[in-house]
């Protein structure tokens, strides 16, 4: 199944899915809520961690979009994520942060978030992610379908489950990172420039952030395979997957 970032994916299940948005800036919160609602999701909004946790304790959402800095807690989002993960291991969580500099920090925290992005993400891209994450949840519940699996040497890519394995071992990538690896590994040897990677990853960022994404990807693979060098930099052009 090919997935176009802007296709609507909320029609697979009859029951409407619930998306929780935890964001302290009311205008942004409401704008996000409007976009999600238009997409067909049920949206619940919370302004701070306490409200969110109180609600989650009563009933979990199907997906949560969490801003890292919440009201007077600059890292309230992390704390909320931990508490939420304690309640559900598979719930998709998307982190939003105002600062790019926090991406590295967040990535290193291993909070089990499925993706983390900056807030200058366009709504369309945000929706695309939410849709993709719901698809993944579905795919994880279904039995393994071999047709969706792409193999490139030691690499195994499951496009539905959005999972990556290297020599049988799972590599935990965020959604954005998965999209980048998928874009590269689908056509090994082909150079993808930054713009193409940005489109594949549903981000609009400057070159430096793509570079840091690539760096994070390499690090995650190297944790499993120290000699990993399948992602090759082609200077001035972009990146390519080598086998």
């Amino acid at each position: 199944m090919r997935f176009h970032p802007l296709s609507s994916g909320g029609s697979l299940e009859p029951m409407k899915r619930t998306v929780a948005i935890v964001e302290d800036e009311p205008a942004i919160r409401d704008n996000y809520a409007a976009a999600f609602t238009r997409e067909g999701y049920v949206v619940r909004t919370y302004a701070n961690r306490k409200q969110a946790m109180a609600a989650f304790g009563a009933r979990l959402p199907d997906l949560a979009v969490i801003d890292i800095s919440l009201e007077e807690e600059p890292e309230g989002g992390f704390e909320l994520c931990r508490q939420l993960r304690a309640l559900s291991a598979e719930l998709p969580i998307i982190f939003l942060t105002a600062r790019d500099s926090e991406l590295d920090a967040v990535s290193g925290l291993r909070l089990g978030a499925d993706d983390f992005l900056t807030k200058d993400l366009s709504l369309a891209h945000l929706i695309a992610r939410v849709n993709a994450l719901f698809r993944r949840v579905e795919a994880l519940r279904r039995p393994l379908e071999a047709s969706q699996i792409v193999r490139r040497g030691p690499l195994t890519l499951d496009a539905e489950r959005m999972q990556v394995e290297w020599e049988g071992k799972v590599v935990l990538l965020s959604l954005t990172e998965f999209w980048i690896v998928y874009a590269l590994a689908r056509h090994p040897g082909h150079v993808k420039n930054r713009q193409q990677l940005m489109d594949a990853a549903n981000v609009v960022l400057d070159d430096n952030t793509i570079t840091s994404h690539i760096k994070r990807i390499r690090r995650k693979f190297q944790a499993i395979e120290p000699n990993f060098d399948a992602v090759q930099t082609v200077y001035g052009m972009g990146y390519r997957w080598v086998e």
Binding site: I28, N31, A98, T211
Partner: protein
Amino acid sequence: MSLRFKLLLLGLATLVLPWAGCRYAREMESALREGEQSSLQSVAQTMASSLQGRRDLLYREVPPARSTDSADTDESQAPVPQPEPRPTPYDLRPVLLFAQPSVDGYADEWPQGKSAWRYYAHGQHEFGILTGVFERMLYVVLDVRDEHVVFDAPGASPLEPGTFGDRVWLGFQGPDGVEHQVFIGATGFGSVTGRRIETGEYGQQTAVTEPRITGAWQPSAKGYRLELRIPLSMLGERFGVLVDDRNARGAEPVSYGTLRSDDLHTVGRLIVASPDLTVYLRQFLQPGLRLSVMTPDHRLLSQADALAQATELGAERGFLTRFYRHLVDRSGARRVIDATATIYDRDQGSAIGLLQVTQTEERWLTLRDRALTRMLNLTLVISLVAVVAMLVFAARLALRLSRLRTASETALTREGLVTTFPETDSVDELGDVARGFSTLLGRLNEYTGYLRTLAGKLAHEIRTPLTIVRSSLENLESEPLPPSAGVYVARAREGSERLNGILHAMGAATRVEEAISSAERTRFNLIPVIDSAVSSYRTAFPQREFALELPAEGVEIEGAPDLIVQMLDKLVDNAVDFSPAGATITVRLRLEPHAALLEVENPGPPLPPESRGRLFESLWQSRLGADSRPHFGLGLYIVRLIAEFHGGNATASSLPGDSGARFTVRLAR
């Protein structure tokens, strides 16, 4: 003048201590001398008192003079103390001789001063007489002026008047008071012996040799010299000399001298010290002392001398001592001190003599030297210690000050980055200055840090409202809108995207700094990196030509290839912006022994001269480039950061003839 030099001068000022010490030593020496003087005076006084009335000790005890016509020789009579006889011009006072003169007629070994001589004259005739005493012998020197010395006829009887030549008569009272006369006559120059005339029981006269009186008769410039030796035991109170000067043998003499010429009776006295006096004085003698007894008119009677014997007290002769003494001693200072006291008669009426006590410097000089040495050593040591301490302190101060200066110089780098300032916890003023600096730099650091992050912070602050705007516009686009509204939404969208771009550019520098600080270094070959980068530029900028000049062999450097590409991107962006369409941009890699030089040249306007030094600073200069993308002047700043990351720097210059610009990045290798 450096601090050290100033403090050295100050330290040398403590040398006033030894100088003061020397002055003090001199004063102390005067005081000591005075003290010694007064104590010596009391010693002299005491000794003089002990000699009071002891005329017998001072002078030879002479039995009271008897008149020659008195036959009373009763010796049982106790001597009646005689009043002091009046002095006469015929009194002879022998000097005290310190060595036995050789009786040879020459007075060389006698003391040479003229003052001891007595002269007696008669008309043209004159003789000088010098007497001296040495160990119970009286020595007499007669210097007689005689143009024509006449000798006795040889072999003739000394009593034959016709044979008489020049003769000298000695007249003296014996210890018993009896007058004696002895004559000296010679047949030629040489030794002589005294002769006396004795009258036999029958009245005949004979000349008898007086062997105890011997001498020598020698010629002199003026006439002749007679040197005689007479035992003091022969002599009593009176003594005299008479010269018979004949100008021909047997002629009538001219007689003159200290005897009465008619009967050769003595007139003058012989004033000699008692031999016991020396013994007496010797009792009181100590090494370094000299005791002298003199007649009231300062003629020496007796002397006991141990001046040269100051031995063990004068021991300290070390180099330092001699040096100090040289410093302190006044030239011409007397080397001895003496005190004189008068010896009075029994009833304190008249003076019978003078006692002089002389002491060498040795005794008190040594005391002084010992104290002086100790004190000078001490003060010199103190001085030295003070100077050294001051030098050390000055050196430490200077060191601390120069460290402070160095720290303050390096704390603020040329770019304004403030590094750490060394902490100090010394309590003194220097420590205060250092802490003040530290505080100042800390505040400066805060402020510059604030300024540097201002852009990033602003960007962050703006981001939220911008997100609101953008997300609102996105929602708006999904709402049904009349077409006319769509235009405005589109414009708003565009504007917010540009705003977003600006925000990105504002935070770009910070992102680059972060990327640089977290970049991993590897060794890589520059050639393929540059090559592929330039290929992509050819695609990206079709309106420009790219000329590539690379060395043949590979160029390995250590760094981050991504950053090199990013840097090159910025340089090429700049070059494209400032060159006309169709221009050729040159990318060149040159090699130096320890550097690789990456150059990007573009034809076009030259660099403005006033911006030369400031191009690579993180300026906030907004201008539109050829592609109407906003430029914030951060591109070159990023170039500089990346160049410095690779151990080099970035410079810019105009091409010759002001035909364009060249940017050169030096990379270490």
